[in-house]
């Protein structure tokens, strides 16, 4: 508990958290704008409640997307901030005083995971409150109901919180594994933003030219596992949602366990 209080004070006493929060707002605004457009297009071409598809999916999906606006950027920022919780100790040479106060290094990493989860839930809470304020306005402006009685909307919001939490754990784990601040941030950002498309193409190519079942393995890509968790199976042969969540937990567990073992052995100098 002392350690969690110490880690929380560390986070609060530098400018990092509010810089990330300030970055989050315009990105959230962009996401709302995009989802607004998607809702407008879908509603205008859709008729009452058909299965029309303008590339944005069904109306339920579009509405759920509106209520989880800022997910892509929020998860990215939460993950990077979680990684920086760890890497800044080495970047600013504070690892020495941290590990002098707490020679059992695995406890420090565990405390940082707790803080990562708190950051994730805070960011999720911010965007969710904003979405619940803006979403009904957008939908009523388009002549649709607010859909706040739809269970899919609340499920989407809850899963949104879950992916924030899981990605923050992946971030802490990656930060432990990749000690370099710049290295960790760039690796995570590239894998998260560009990696998805690249790896998706790779898996499609593998399944087409090498062996078909490779396509099912594409959910091992963390971002695609995340999509599976949020959106459910897209293809008939896709596994159920919870497999996506399990894969993300697996990434968080592997990176943090391997990283912790390395950190326990590592010379701090």
């Amino acid at each position: 508990m002392n350690l969690i209080r110490a880690e929380l004070l560390k986070l609060r006493t530098t400018s990092m958290w509010w810089i990330f929060a300030v970055i989050l707002l315009p990105l959230w605004g962009l996401a709302v704008g995009y989802n607004w457009l998607a809702a407008e297009v879908t509603l205008s071409t859709d008729g009452p409640l058909g299965g029309g598809d303008m590339g944005f999916g069904s109306l339920e999906r579009v509405v759920a997307g509106l209520y989880t606006s800022g997910q892509f950027s929020g998860v990215l920022l939460v993950m990077l901030l979680s990684a920086i919780l760890v890497t800044s100790e080495f970047f600013h040479l504070t690892a020495t005083s941290t590990f002098l106060a707490t020679p059992r290094r695995e406890l420090v990493i565990a405390a940082k995971m707790v803080i990562g989860v708190l950051v994730a839930l805070t960011f999720w809470l911010i965007t969710t409150v904003l979405n619940l304020a803006v979403g009904p306005l957008v939908l009523s402006g388009l002549g649709a109901s607010a859909h706040l009685d739809a269970p899919e909307v609340w499920q989407a919001i809850a899963l949104n919180g879950l992916v924030h939490v899981l990605w923050s754990l992946v971030g802490v784990g990656a930060g432990v594994l990749i000690r370099s601040q710049i290295g960790a941030v760039i690796t995570l950002a590239v894998v998260y933003i560009i990696g998805t498309q690249v790896l998706q193409v790779v898996f499609f190519a593998l399944s087409t030219y090498v062996w078909e079942p490779f396509l099912a393995l594409r959910i091992l890509v963390p971002t695609l596992a995340s999509d599976l968790l949020i959106s459910g199976p897209q293809l008939a042969e896709d596994p159920p949602r919870w497999v996506g969540g399990l894969i993300l937990v697996g990434y968080a567990a592997i990176t943090s366990i391997v990283g912790t073992l390395i950190t326990k052995q590592r010379d701090i100098s």
């Binding site: 002392n2 350690l3 209080r5 110490a6 004070l9 560390k10 006493t13 530098t14 400018s15 990092m16 800044s88 600013h92 040479l93 504070t94 020495t96 005083s97 941290t98 590990f99 002098l100 106060a101 707490t102 020679p103 059992r104 052995q265 010379d267 701090i268 100098s269």
Partner: protein
């Protein structure tokens, strides 16, 4: 706040191998409470690596280091037993000094009020809310001392704490460390500033190339070296005086200019022997070996080839 009892430092056969370099090589020494122990060696001798192994930050290849009988990592509340000042630049640049200390307080289960107490103790209370990046090197060293004193530890380990301090700061540090030792605390301080150590330390541990060269009380280490106390004496009756001195079991050699050099005696003893023998003296100079010369003689040729 601290527990009574033996709080010395014991290092036994401590070894650290980095790839091809043996930074610390079978190093054994003890540090006693109530004394300031100087940890001396040329740059690259392995002082910092040895101190970091004592503090559990670097894993030894072989050997053990204990503080008060326990390894640092096994101490239940390490900051209440041991305070350490390692490198000066070890706080987040964007965090204030006071918050830096409060973070440590929370991790160690100490009340936040200790942060303000130690800031006052090192004279930084007026600049505690300033961010670390605005601190001068001297202020950083004082902050390092403040952090080390948070848990009111019985053992203090300091790596080159006078680096970057002005003369006034060096004097402040010296007085502080002497006062802490006088309270019965164990103080181990590394330095390459030998003259500084001569004024500060009660004991010295001298290492070079990762190996122990000598340890013991400063006076004893100085007395044991080849460059120990000697006297230069000039007299018109050199042969007669040399015979008298040799009869008194003293070692005598002649300088090129005809003066005599007497080893293992002070000027008073030489003057007394000369007076008793009726020998006329024209010059009588005591040449005290200093730590610096002893150190250079002890470590000569051992610092290279690393």
């Amino acid at each position: 706040m601290s527990q009574p009892g033996y709080e010395g430092i014991t290092v036994e056969h401590l070894t650290k191998q980095y790839h091809r370099v043996r930074a610390v090589d079978d190093l054994s020494f003890t540090v006693h409470p109530g004394r300031v122990t100087g940890f001396l060696g040329p740059n690259g001798a392995g002082k910092t690596t040895a101190l970091r192994m004592i503090l559990g930050l670097v894993t030894p290849t072989a050997g053990t280091a204990t503080v008060g009988g326990a390894r640092y990592v096994d101490l239940p509340d390490p900051l209440r037993h041991v305070g350490a000042v390692l490198e000066a630049s070890s706080a987040h640049r964007g965090r204030s000094a006071r918050n830096h200390l409060r973070v440590i307080c929370r991790a160690a289960g100490l009340p936040d009020s200790r942060a303000d107490e130690v800031l006052t103790m090192v004279g930084l209370n007026t600049v505690g809310t300033r961010k670390f990046k605005g601190y001068s090197l001297g202020m950083k060293q004082r902050l390092g001392i403040a952090a080390a004193m948070l848990g009111d530890p019985r053992v203090l380990i300091l790596d080159e704490p006078t680096n970057g301090l002005d003369p006034e700061g060096i004097r402040w540090m010296r007085d502080l460390l002497r006062a802490l030792a006088a309270e019965g605390r164990t103080v181990l301080v590394s330095s390459h500033l030998l003259a500084e150590m001569q004024q500060l330390a009660d004991d010295v541990v001298i290492i070079a190339a990762g190996r122990l060269i000598r340890q013991g009380p400063v006076a004893e280490v100085l007395g044991n070296t080849a460059g120990a106390a000697r006297v230069r004496v000039r007299t018109p009756q050199a042969e007669q005086l040399a015979a008298v001195l040799r009869d008194a079991q003293l070692q005598v050699s002649a300088d090129p200019d005809g003066a005599l050099r007497v080893f293992g005696a002070d000027p008073a003893r030489v003057g007394q022997l000369a007076f008793a023998a009726g020998v006329e003296l024209h010059e009588l100079i005591g040449e005290n070996a200093d730590l610096e010369r002893a150190f250079l003689e002890l470590t000569a040729g051992k610092a290279g080839a690393r």
